[in-house]
Symmetry: C2
Subunit: 120 residues, 2 copies
C-alpha cells in the first residue's frame, strides 16, 4: 500500500485547515492507489511526524509527501526535510519520498495565468 501525505502550513483559522483536508479528499478520489491524508507543520493536527507514523502503522511500504507550499521558504527548505529525515531513520524498511513543493511545479505559471480575466 502507498500513502500520500499533503503537507500544509496550518492556520489559526479552522476553516483553512478543513480546506486542506478537503483537498486531500479530492486527491484521494483522483489517486485510487493511495491512502491520502493531510498533515500540518503547525497550528493544526496531525503534525507531519504523526501522519507518517499513522501511514506506516496502516501498512504503507511507500510514503510520498507533497508539500502544499508555493515558495521555498524556511519551512520547505529546512523544517519539512528535517522532519522527514528524522522519521526516515525510524523506518528503514519504508520508502519515503519527499516530492517537490507545489510552487516548483512545471506549469504553475500557465495555471496561474489562466485564472486572470483578460478582458474587463
Amino acid at each position: 500500500m502507498q500513502a500520500l501525505i499533503l503537507l500544509a502550513h496550518g492556520s489559526r483559522r479552522a476553516e483553512s485547515n478543513r480546506e486542506v483536508q478537503a483537498m486531500a479528499e479530492q486527491l484521494a478520489a483522483r489517486l485510487p492507489g493511495f491512502r491520502v491524508s493531510a498533515a500540518f507543520l503547525e497550528l493544526s493536527a496531525p503534525d507531519i511526524a504523526t501522519a507518517i507514523d499513522r501511514a506506516v502503522a496502516q501498512g504503507a511500504g511507500r510514503v510520498l509527501l507533497l508539500p502544499y507550499f508555493l515558495a521555498a521558504g524556511r519551512h520547505v527548505v529546512e523544517d519539512i526535510p528535517a522532519i522527514v529525515e528524522e522519521r526516515r531513520t525510524h523506518y528503514a524498511e519504508v520508502e519515503m519520498l519527499l516530492l517537490p513543493y507545489l510552487g516548483a511545479a512545471p506549469g504553475m505559471a500557465d495555471f496561474l495565468a489562466a485564472l486572470v480575466p483578460t478582458s474587463p
Copy 2:
C-alpha cells in the same frame, strides 16, 4: 493600461521572495495586456498598498490582485481584503478587482494529482 499584482506572503528567505518575483515575470510573459508586479504581505517589499500606489501612478485604470495563497487563512480572508478596501477609497476612478486566491481555483486538485508519481 491594466495592472496585475501577484500577492504573496513574503518570507525571511530572500530566495523565496525572488521566486515570487520570478513567477510575476513568468506571468508578464503570458499576459501581454498587463503590467505585472509582485507584492508582499510581510517580510519583503513592496507591500501591497505600495504596489497598488505604483500601479495607479503608472496609469493603470484597472488593477487586478491575485492572492498567491493556497488556503483561506486570516491573511486571505481579513488582511488582504482590508488593505485593498483601504486603497480603494483613495482611488475612486480606478477599478480594483481582488481575484479568488489560488487554492480556490477550479482544477487545483487535478493539477496537484498530476504531480504525484503513481508508480514506484
